[in-house]
Each structure stands twice: as C-alpha cells, then as structure tokens.
C-alpha cells in the first residue's frame, strides 16, 4: 500500500480496525472492506443519496467522505438500524406504507429520515420533502415515502419521549 493508514471505525456496534489507503471512500470501505453491501452507490456526483449512512449520528453521503476521515467515528448503516431483531420504526413504516419498490434507494432514504426525525419529531409534509431532497428515488414518486416518514414520526413520538425540537432546516 502506498500510504497505509490504520483506522478504527465502529460500524453498527462493532469496532473494525483496518489498514487502508487514503483514496478509499467510506462507501467503498463499507461495501468492499467490510462487505456491508446494504449501502448502495447510485451516482458519482454526490447527488442521489443512495450511499447515505449515519456518521456520528449525522446522515452522510458515504461516497463523499474518505474512509480515513471516519477514523474513530461511529457509523450506522441500514444493516444496523434494527436493534436486537426489532426493526426500527422507519423500517416498519417504509414497509407498511409501501415506501419502496425496487429498494435500491431505500437504505439511504431511511437513514436520512432517521437523522431528520431525531431532530424534528413532528414534521410537516413540506419539511419531510425538504429533508429528503438529497435522496433520489425513481420508483415511488415519493408519495409513499412521505407517508412512511410521517408514520414513523408518529410511532417514534409515541415510543420515545419526544426530543426537544431543534430548528428544522426548512425553507424560510
């Protein structure tokens, strides 16, 4: 390796230490080094959001981050959304509302929604649409994705004590 770096990344609760080259993108690290192929690559210009994962709690396009930059970070991918065999409310809601068809964009959309809903417990439809503008879907027309995120927000409000709201990133 030309310029090997030792990194330790916690992915879905497991700590992985690997020697990697700096050119490796986080999405390549997840898919190829760790064989976590639930995170997808849909474009090469940081547009489509299929590769979105949580990095230290923030929805991040893993195609636009070097794996070396994730040294010490906590990463959650679609494979880590369910806890102890129990699906995350967003997963249940996507299935319930038919928020997916081919399923390729779905992991990224769910991850973005998780980040969003953790900061905005009772979003309007317009806020939901603004939140997922960086996740393209060609199958669903977004209608049922919006429904799914709204449904998940209701369940998350019921199950968790609603988080204090932070200002939503909505268009003024």
């Amino acid at each position: 390796m030309r310029d090997a770096h030792a990194v330790t990344v916690t992915v879905n609760g497991t700590s992985y230490s690997r020697e990697i080259e700096p050119t490796l993108l986080l999405v390549e690290f997840l898919r190829e080094t760790l064989a976590l192929t639930g995170t997808h690559v849909g474009c090469d210009t940081s547009q489509c959001g299929a590769c979105t994962v949580l990095v230290d709690g923030r929805a991040t396009k893993s195609c636009t981050m070097l794996a070396v930059q994730a040294d010490g970070a906590v990463v959650i991918t679609v494979e880590g959304l369910a806890k102890n065999g129990e699906l995350h409310p967003i997963q249940r809601a996507f299935a319930k509302e038919h928020g997916l068809q081919c399923g390729f964009c779905t992991p990224g959309l769910m991850i973005t929604a998780v980040d969003f809903l953790e900061r905005n417990a009772s979003p309007s439809d317009a806020q939901i649409r603004h939140a997922i503008e960086g996740n393209l879907c060609r199958c669903t027309g977004y209608h049922n994705i919006v429904n799914a995120i709204r449904t998940a927000s209701a369940e998350m409000r019921e199950t968790a004590s609603a988080q204090p709201q932070v200002a939503a990133e909505v268009k003024p």
Binding site: D3, D115, I132, A167
Partner: protein
C-alpha cells in the same frame, strides 16, 4: 472512486496543518470534503497531499467575543449554522443561506470554511459573508492575516488565500440596531447550487428609513459580488415597495452573468432582480421586527 493517489495527514493543531501544507507542492486542505472530494472523484483535482483539519477542535466553535464580534470557526457545518441561536438571531441571512446549501446530508458535513475557501461561484454562503462585511482570518507560516470579505472572492474557485494559508475563522461584527437579514435563492433544479442567491442586510433608522443596505449576490457571476448600485438606491428610502423594486432592478447592474443549461445570462440577470426583491423585502420585514 478516486484513482489518483495522495498522502493524507490529520494534524492536531492549525500550526502543524500550516506546516504540512507547506511541505508538499500540491497540498490541499480538506474539511467536510463536500467541495473537494467531488472534484477528486471526477479527476478534476489531483492533490498530492490532503491535510485534514478534523482534529482541530477549536475550528468547530461559534463564539461571541467581548466586543460582540461573532466568530465562526472554519469547521462549523452548515447544519450547525442553521441551528445556532446567535447566528439565527443576529446573522439571519447567513442562517438562511446555510439552510439552503445542498441537501440535508451536505449540510450535515459540509463546512462554511470549505465553502468559502473553495469559492464556487454558485455557493450560497459567500453572499451573506459579503453582505455582513465579514472578515476572513487566515493562518499561514507567518501567522494570522485578516482579509475583508470584499477582498476575498477573486473569481470562480479563486480567493485571496495563499496556497500555504488556512482559512481558520470568519468574523462578523454584531449588526447594529434594527438590522434584518435574509437570503433568497433560486436553486439549480438538478444540482441544488445557486443559480442566483441574494443576501440582503438592511439597517433601519428609528424613523424607519434605511440607514444601511448591503446586497450581495451568489451564483450569477464568476464570483459573488456586492450590488453597490442597488445598495445606494435603497439607502435613505423608506424601504417601501417602490424603493425595493427600484433597488432590485439594479442588483445585476454591470455584471457579466454566467450562462448554462439551467439559466441563460439574460434569465440569470432577471432572476437576480427578482430574488433581490424577495431578499430585501424579508430583510426589511425582519428589521422592522
């Protein structure tokens, strides 16, 4: 995929970072990576060395100094800007602009320092930075250097930063009295970048007349610019509909507008006037409180 090899360093202090930056002929600073990595993936940027600022915690802060100056560290993300109460209260145009950058994921990781240093003509935050007359503090081998925003943006991807300098923080004087700011944007329908983004910062006198107006525009020309003719037109008016319309009509005066698939030069200039009007209206509304 990045096929061009490079070496990577993540120093703990800015001094070290400056040193490392100077050690390679073609070294680049990386923060959130949302400007640089897309270029590297396309092969349009092929640095030999990347100096990552992520370990330099002090650059993540937003703080207010004793004299009221609001200091925003280079590593502050767009999202953090949106959520910061001080920024929202005092620098609303910046808060607005940050909320319009890219998308949720880009805002989560992209930084104001990266956006300004990269100086994409279609980036959002240069406009409010100009409109608030901010100062950009750079750290280089010879120590720090303060660059007024007006002197900072030189052209597309061109700033006053020297290759061995690092943009460390952006300093905003606390706006005086009845000041309102706003940013209004016509986004590129595909990329989300600003086809036109107008920041307006308006200070009103006690009698409601405009004491000071700052109008800055992103996206329309090779670099973000201050629309000085428009600013002059608004100053000393009552900020009524006619004054705003007359002002907005001058916001694209004298520029060489960009032209692309999303908007011809002619349409872009028109959009500047429309979005100038919208930004000024909201800024005045906010100034009036």
């Amino acid at each position: 995929m990045i096929t061009h090899p490079f070496t990577y360093q993540a120093p703990a202090t800015i001094e070290e970072a400056v040193k490392q930056l100077g050690q390679s002929g073609d070294a680049k600073v990386i923060a959130g990576g949302h400007s640089l990595l897309p270029l590297m993936k396309l092969g349009l940027a092929q640095p030999e060395t990347l100096v990552d600022l992520r370990r330099i915690a002090s650059l993540r802060e937003i703080r207010t100094e004793a004299d009221g100056t609001i200091v925003i560290g280079a590593l502050v993300t767009h999202r953090d800007l949106v959520h910061d109460k001080t920024v929202r209260a005092k620098l609303a145009a910046l808060s607005d602009a940050a909320s319009e950058v890219g998308d949720l994921q880009v805002r989560a990781r992209g930084t104001i320092g990266g956006s300004l240093a990269h100086a994409d003509s279609a980036a959002d935050e240069p406009a409010p930075t100009l409109a608030y007359d901010a100062t950009i503090r750079a750290i280089g081998p010879k120590g720090r250097r303060d660059i007024p925003a007006r002197d900072f943006f030189k052209g597309t991807f061109e700033t006053a930063l020297a290759p061995n300098e690092i943009l460390a923080e952006i300093r905003f004087s606390a706006p005086a009295g009845r000041t309102g700011g706003a940013y209004a944007k016509f986004a590129h329908p595909a990329s989300g970048f600003a086809v036109t983004g107008v920041a307006a910062v308006v200070t009103l006198k006690a009698d409601g007349t405009v004491e000071r107006a700052a109008i800055a525009v992103s996206g329309a020309a090779a670099a973000a610019y201050r629309a000085t003719a428009a600013e002059k037109a608004l100053t000393s008016t009552k900020g009524d509909a006619k004054a705003i319309a007359d002002t907005a009509a001058k916001a694209a005066d004298g520029i060489t507008a960009l032209s692309d698939l999303a908007a011809s030069a002619e349409y872009r200039k028109h959009l500047v006037t429309v979005y100038a009007k919208r930004a000024i209206e909201r800024a005045i509304e906010r100034a009036r409180g």
